[in-house]
Structures are given as C-alpha cells and as structure tokens.
C-alpha cells in the first residue's frame, strides 16, 4: 500500500480493494515504527485521521468521492489547523492551537483527504538542515546520521520513508526543493501567488510559497490541482485559472529547449552531484530536448540579496510574537520591556534571533538604502536575468543543491556554509518563479536532485517535463531501508 502511487491508491479505494481506514492505519503503523528515530512528525493526529478516513470511506461508498478522497497526507507544521497545535517548530508556538484553518488545509479537507499529522521543520522555516527545530532535528531516512535538509525536513523525511504518500510544505529560499533533493523525493514550489498563504505562518511574505512533496511528479500534480487557486483572503494570490496538471502530464519533450545556467555548474558544486545531474540532462537529450547554455549573471548575488530581504521581512513578521496575546510568555515579567525581551529571548532559537537581528539592522534608518533597497534592486536584476533566459529556453535545469545530505551538526556553527546549500534555489524565490526537484540518481549512496525551473505559472510544464523523465527512469521509486531496521 505504501508504495502505490496516488493514482493507484485512488483507483484501489474506488474499487474497494482496501478502505481509506486500512490505508491510513497502514501509514500510521509505518509512522509508529520509524518516527521515533526519524522525528519527522511533531504531532500525529491519529484519532482525527481515523475519523476522517471513516468519513472518506462513506463518501466513497456513496459515490461522492473526489479523486483524492481517503488518501492520507501530512501538513508541514506551518499551516494552521483548527483545533490542532501549530508550532512552526518553535517553543514560541508550542502551546498554540489555531481557531482557524489555512486555506490550503481547508481545500485539502474539502477534497476528502486524511491528515496524518503535522511535520517537523526548522523553526519558523528558517534553516536548511532541520536542525533548528524546538522539537529536535529530523534524520534523513537514507542515512540517519545525516540531515534531511530544510526547512521542510519533516515532510521530506516522512515522504521518503513512505510514512505518507504526500505532504504539504513551504519554500522561501529552497525549503521544498533542497530537502526533496536530499531525501530523494519530488518537491514542487509553485509560482508566487499560485497557492494561498492565508493561514500559513509567515517567514518572509514576499518569498513564501506553499507547495507539495510526493514520490513523483504525477502524485504532486494531483495535489497541486487541489491546493492551487486564487484566494480572496490573500491579496498576493493571483486570480487566474488553475491548469489541469494531471491532464497535462504527457506532453512530449520533443522540441523542448532546456537552459543550463553556467553559474549552477561552477565552483562549489560537488563533482559527483554534477555528474548525476549531467547524466539526467543527457536523458532529456535522448528524449528529444535541445540543450542550451545560458547565463544568469546576477545569480551570485542571490544569496546575499536573499539574506537581506528575508530577514528584513521576518524581523517584522515575527514582531507579533510578543507574549501578549498567545504563544510563549515569560514568567513573572517585571515590566513590559522585560515581558518582551524575555518572552522572545527564551522562546526563539538562535537562528531565528540571528535573522531578526540582521533584518532589524537592514531596515534601520541610515542602513535601509544600503541594504534593503539595494537588495530589492538586485532582486529585480535577478528577475530580469530569468526573463531574458526564458526568452531563449523553455525550462532551466541544474542541480538542486551543491551537495548531498551532510552530517548532522556539520554546518550548525557555520551559517554561511549552511546558507550556501540554497545557492541554486534562492533565485527562483527572489524572482517568484516555479521550480521542482526530482530524484536523478545517487552520489555516495545519497540521493541527488535535479532542479527544473519554469516560467511564471508554468507548473504544468515543469510537472510534465519531470513526469517524462520519471517514465523512463526509476530513481523516484527508490526507497531507503525502513528506519528502525538499519544497523
């Protein structure tokens, strides 16, 4: 059951080969067996899941099911879930139970899907290794001494370890694609504005975008059709029709032009990772694609620009966590100032505090022009680079991350090296484009991801390009040995 695709699960449920309840129980069993080691879930909502599964079974029996009814998934613990604690990986929200659902959560519930639980993540989505969680690090199912990537590390590990067929996740600088790459699964970050941010705890509002992790592009296409769409409650969501992602999967590669940015294949790229990616690109050539070298001249500036814009927005977005209305509150504050400083000082982790400090500095009088405004100008240049590139090519490909999964603890004292794990993904967020990471092979026994970047709202195209590759290769079907069985 846990190896079947979403389409197979949907067909099996409809044919009554097994019930949603059986399917959900099977996945819960895999969570119980593996997750004490992997730590990918912050909360498992077993009771609610079984109730939802039994409701789904009734809908299926009554012939009122949608294609995804009864299929389980997990939500990153950044999406607000009514009545279920939404921690965002932080001590600050350890006690926070939202009285509302994120739009994404509502849409998925409306489709009849069953939520297994909430997945672990870097605190407030700030991190590339999932080591910044209040609930402890997530372990990579391929090698539990290594990180799963971040910030959506819990979702990535849960999908990779076959504890859930699908998971929601968010991507601000690579937080979907990088962990998908490091865990050997498929992860898509839609175009900014394609998926509602309402009810998704904000890190950097102009960059955050909800997306999907699954085992294949086809599985992701099913869920994206449910999640995408205009939401009047999110002013930055875009009012345009949602494509038929599943229906569009089988477009031919013949005549497709693939751009390879030189900047994504240079210094800093692990040669073994590079070799895997080049092999994947040769596969596309065999399928009839044309390969073209391109330049994204401003891409070296993407990491510094990102680490001004994202902290600036986060410093403001996280001001609401002040110990006054909800969340963590310091004991016995002696005055208002003490309430603020201790509540925030005691409940925010080191990386969150670092980014709040950096962002506050970047927005301060006298520094605004030099940092924030300049970063915004660079952002425009980066967007222009992509615009230029997409006038010549249909999609852009390259490695998702410069390395495979690195050992736990290796980069925790070196933020700069940590930040560089997102060097190939950040530009996509700064420009607001869509990108997907798919498994393309292994280097040293660890998964390597191929990143495919698409133009604005071309999710259907990159999903079909990914799907074609997954029809002629089987990297996406490779699963790690079950956790708990490793020695």
């Amino acid at each position: 059951m846990h190896k079947a695709s979403v389409a197979e699960l949907s067909a099996a449920l409809k044919a009554r080969k097994f019930s949603s309840e059986e399917l959900v129980r099977a996945h819960l069993a895999r969570i119980h067996a593996q997750d004490s080691e992997l730590n990918s879930f912050v909360t498992v909502t077993e009771t609610e899941a079984l109730a939802a599964a039994s409701h789904a079974d009734k809908l299926i029996a009554a012939g009122e099911a949608s294609p995804l009814t009864g299929i389980p998934l997990a939500h990153k613990d950044i999406f607000c879930t009514r009545g279920v604690r939404t921690s965002c990986g932080s001590k600050m929200l350890d006690n926070f139970v939202p009285p509302y659902n994120a739009t994404v959560v509502d849409k998925i519930a409306d489709a009849g899907m069953v939520v297994l639980g909430k997945t672990n993540m870097d605190e407030f989505a700030m991190g590339s290794s999932n080591e910044n969680s209040y609930y402890g690090p997530v372990r990579n199912p391929w090698d539990t001494k290594r990180v799963p990537g971040g910030s959506s590390g819990g979702s990535a590990a849960a999908v990779a370890a076959r504890m859930t067929p699908l998971a929601t996740c968010t991507d601000t600088g690579g937080s979907i694609r990088q962990p998908a790459s490091l865990c050997g699964i498929t992860g898509i970050k839609p175009t900014y504005g394609r998926v509602s941010r309402y009810g998704m705890v904000a890190f950097a509002s102009s960059l955050d975008q909800g997306g999907i992790m699954g085992r294949s592009a086809e599985d992701a296409a099913w869920l994206l059709g449910v999640m995408a769409g205009f939401d009047p409650k999110d002013s930055t969501s875009v009012d345009r029709p949602v494509d038929d992602y599943v229906g569009g999967l089988n477009q031919s590669i013949e005549g497709l032009t693939i751009g390879l940015p030189r900047e994504h294949f240079g210094e800093g790229l692990d040669p073994e990772v590079g070799a895997v990616v080049e092999a994947a690109i040769r596969e596309y050539e065999k399928l009839g694609a044309t390969i073209k070298d391109i330049d994204l001249p401003n891409s070296p500036l993407s990491v510094p620009a990102y680490y001004v814009v994202a902290p600036a927005e986060c410093s403001s977005n996280l001001s609401r966590f002040d110990g006054v209305r909800y969340g963590y509150r310091a004991q016995h504050p002696k005055d208002l100032q003490d309430l603020y400083t201790r509540s925030r000082g005691e409940a925010f982790g080191e990386e969150v505090q670092r980014r709040i400090m950096v962002g506050t500095y970047a927005l301060s009088t006298g520094y605004y022009d030099a940092y924030y405004l300049k970063a915004q100008k660079i952002r425009r240049l980066i967007s222009d680079d992509f615009r230029q590139a997409f006038s010549e090519v249909d999609v852009i490909m390259g490695p998702t991350s410069p390395t495979t999964a690195f050992p736990l603890g290796e980069r925790t004292d070196d933020p700069i090296t940590m930040y560089l794990s997102d060097i190939y993904t950040i530009g996509v967020n700064l420009a607001g484009l869509t990108g997907i990471s798919i498994p393309a092979g292994f280097a040293g026994g660890l998964p390597v991801g191929l990143q495919i970047i698409g133009n604005y709202f071309e999710e259907a195209r990159i999903l079909s390009v990914a799907h074609r590759y997954q029809q002629v290769t089987d990297w996406h079907t490779k699963a790690p040995a079950d956790a708990g069985s490793q020695t």
């Binding site: 509302y100 309402y198 002013s235 930055t236 001001s319 603020y340 301060s364």
Partner: protein
C-alpha cells in the same frame, strides 16, 4: 521681541466604513471589549490583510474635495514598533507613497479674511487598540475593538500663524469630511482628532523654530488652548535664554498645560518598509472620475449658491451650509414653502435651531419635517396666521407632530381678515374706552397702539394687525 507662531496640523479622521480597513470585523463604537476583533485584527499567525475598497474610495473623495493630487499608485508600508495594543508589532500605514498628494484648502477667519493652507498629503492607515490602565490591579487591559479601524491622516503644511487659524482649518476639514460622509466627525468618541506641531520664531525670520508636537487633542476648544499654552511656554523658554526641545508633548485638559511624554516612547526607529502582504493600490482615471461624479456639492460652492439663489446674507448662508444635513433640510423647507427663502432661513436658524439646541438634538432628529415647517412658513406668508401665532403653532407642531394647517384649524388660530368682524371688535373697544377715545380724537395719536393692543387682545391675537390699524384710524377719525 515680537514672535510669530507657526502651526501645522495632523488630523486623524476615522473613516465611516462598516468594516475594518484590513478585515471584515465591525467598526461600530462602544461594543464590549475585544468583541469586535477577528483573527486578523488580533495579529494571529498566518493572518493576512485584505484592503477595504470603501476606505480607498473615501480617501479619494477627500483628495478630490481638497483639490489634491490622487496618487495613481500608492503603497502600504509597515511602521514597526512594539506596544501591547499594536497586535502585529507594526501598524500598516502609508509612508513614501500616500494615496493623496499635495493640495490646498481655503479657510475663512472670523473677520472675513481668507487664507490658503497647504495640504502636504493624506494617507490611509489602521488604528491601534486601546490600553486600559484602570481596574486591572496594577496590570494593563487591552481592548482591540479599535485595532484595524480605518483612519485617514491629513497632514497640513506649517501654514497657520495662530490658534484661530488652526481652528478654522480644523473646522473646515471637519465640515468637509462630514459633507463627504466619510467620517462622522464625532470628537468625543475619537473619530476626529488632531496632533498640532507648534513652533515660534522672531517676526520676519526665514527659518522655522524648533517645534513640539502636541498629541491627540480631541476638541476644537482644547486645540486652541493647547496651542496658546504651548506658544506662551515656548516664548517663556526662549526669552529666558533657553532652547525649545523637539519633543512630543501631551495636553492635560484638567491642568490646561502641556508636558513632555516619556522620551522612551519616541526613541523608536520605525523601520518603515513596503508591506509585502499588500499589493500597491493602483487607481485609473475611470475609477477616479466615477468618484468625482458622485461628489456632493461642497460647503463653499453651496454657501455661494445660497447667497445668490436665496438672496441670503453671507452669514446666514454660512450657517445654513455648515452641515450637509442642515443645508438639505433648509432647501427642502424652502421648496415646501414655495420658495419663501428668507423667511424660511429665519425659522430654521431661529425657532428650529433654538429647540434643537435646547434639547441637544441634531437636525436629523427634528420632530418637524421640512415639509411641515414649509407648510407653516406658507401660512405666515399668505397671512393665514401672524408671526406671533406662528410661534404657538410651531410649538404645537413640535410636541404633537402635526401639520401647521391641522393645528391652525383645530385651535381656530386662523387670522381674522373679515372687515365686518374686525369692525365689530373695534366698535366694542371704542365703546369700552370712551376716555381714551376722547383723548385720541383730541390729538393723542400715540394712543393708536393702545387701541391696536386692545383689539388684538379681544381677537386672541388672530386679527390681522394691518387691517386693525387701518379700520381703527377710520373709525377713530381724529386729525
């Protein structure tokens, strides 16, 4: 040394939308604490603002009415600071690109002189909640009902040179926002309040002096007192060799003084930046034109029209056009009185204003409708009743809420214009006062008034005074 006062005002007007500027929660005043604050107003995680289109429309109305530029692309920004009644830790406001750009407003002073006051800008923003420091046993209570209420902040140039000018400007804006129906103007509830920037400089100096900002003053009287106090204070400081400190000061209404607010509260670097949760507000010509087409007649043109169309004095026209409701009432009354404009003006500004004032009622709460009052004016005009009887009829109309005609008929107040009836009344009076008759006929003509009085008394005020005069002269004969 002679000093010149320099004043600029920042007026905060609460926009009269039904819901908040970024959420669907109600803006109604006076509800139980924290019952009108939704998850967005509370700054809950993941909540996002959605701009209220009505607030934008109202801001554009104000811009058009003050002849200001309407910014085609304005931007919301975050003003970051921590305070318990500011749930998100930032206020959504407009900073570099406000929705209304420069404009001018003409004010008129008591002596009739007119002056142009520059409007620098007007921007949309959300209000904060309220901190309550009483009744919480050393703690503070937070009421977030007001959080997210739409405000427009109208910033003037430092063009005013006295408290009187500042008041004239503030009143003008107050009239305007009510005319436009974008603010109820209720100062007690804080719907209309202002900060005053005050400085002084030697007469003739080119440079401005150091200014202080007087915060949150919510009545015209207090604005005047606060400014006058502050000007005197600054003069004292400078004349005793000191320097004015740039600071925010609070006006204490009980002590009639200003004093500095804690300096900590101003040590903020607000770290403004464009709010990434909101798109820029882009307005096209069609949108602006459509709003321009719906603008009501504004106070100044209305006053001029009243002077010309109804032949009113500048003063009367000014009073009657001071509020849109009063002006509408007046015009409806004139129409009902078939164009008897001057007499109608006297009645609206006289008896009606008197009774409303006495009972502290707005014109909208008048127990006499314009149609009814116009009916009364008509009966005075066609001599059915005298002005004196009309007052009695008016009082009955107010208490019984009946038409003038109904009351006149029911009480038999119709004026006596029948010559025969008047002659017989006069005959009775002459007969009853033979001595006075003799004196009059002997040349004491001033006694005519006495006879008129007697006749009116006998007719219970209903005899037509003109006719009484004429017939009396005839009957008494004399010289």
């Amino acid at each position: 040394m002679e000093w010149e006062t320099v004043i600029g005002l920042e007026i905060h007007a609460q926009l009269a939308t039904h819901s908040k500027i970024f959420s669907a929660a109600s803006t109604a005043y006076g509800a139980e604490a924290n019952t009108q604050a939704c998850a967005i107003d509370l700054g809950m995680p993941g909540m996002l603002p959605v701009l209220n289109a009505e607030a934008v429309r109202m801001a554009v109305k104000l811009g058009l009415a003050t002849g200001s530029e309407i910014t085609r692309r304005s931007v919301f920004a975050r003003k970051n600071y921590f305070y318990p009644d500011l749930p998100k830790g930032y206020q959504i406001s407009q900073f570099e690109l406000p929705i209304v750009g420069p404009g001018t407003l003409e004010i008129e002073l008591k002596d009739g002189t007119r002056k142009q006051v520059g409007i620098t800008r007007a921007h949309l923003e959300e209000d904060a909640g309220k901190s309550l420091h009483e009744d919480f046993h050393g703690m503070s209570g937070i009421d977030l009902n007001r959080a997210g209420t739409p405000l427009i902040e109208i910033v003037s140039e430092p063009d005013m040179r006295s408290a009187a000018e500042a008041i004239a400007y503030m009143k003008k804006i107050h009239t305007l926002v009510r005319y436009l129906e974008i603010c109820d103007g209720n100062m007690q509830e804080g719907s209309f309040r202002c900060d005053a920037n005050v400085s002084i400089r030697p007469v003739g100096a080119a440079e401005f002096g150091t200014r202080t900002e007087l915060k949150n003053i919510n009545s015209f009287r207090f604005v005047e007192r606060a400014i006058n106090y502050e000007v005197e204070r600054q003069i004292d400081v400078l004349e005793s060799g000191g320097t004015v400190t740039q600071e925010t000061r609070l006006y204490d209404t009980d002590k009639n003084e200003t004093r500095p607010m804690r300096s900590k509260e101003e040590a903020n670097d607000y770290r403004y930046f464009p709010d990434p949760d909101l798109l820029p507000v882009e307005l096209d010509e069609d949108y602006i034109q459509a709003i321009a087409d719906t603008l009501p007649e504004l106070p100044d043109p209305k006053r001029e029209r009243f002077q010309q169309e109804y032949d009113l004095s500048a003063y009367d026209a000014g009073v009657l056009s001071a509020s849109r409701e009063l002006a509408d009432f007046y015009e409806a009354t004139v129409a009902a009185a078939k164009g008897t404009a001057k007499l109608t003006a006297n009645w609206v500004m006289g008896e009606l204003a008197g009774v409303l004032n006495k009972q502290s009622l707005d014109i909208g709460a008048s127990r006499i409708s314009p149609e009814q009052l116009g009916g009364l004016v008509l009966r005075i005009e066609d001599n059915t009743i005298s002005g004196k009887i009309a007052k009695e009829v008016f009082e009955a109309m107010w208490s019984e809420q009946q038409d003038a005609d109904t009351i006149i008929e029911a009480r038999g107040l119709r004026q006596i214009t029948d010559t025969g009836a008047i002659e017989s009344l006069i005959d009775e009076v002459i007969e009853a006062h033979p001595k006075q008759t003799e004196q009059y006929r002997g040349g004491a003509e001033k006694l005519l008034g006495f006879f008129v009085g007697q006749v009116m008394k006998r007719s219970q005020g209903k005899a037509n005074p003109g006719m009484v005069n004429k017939v009396l002269r005839d009957k008494l004969g004399g010289s």
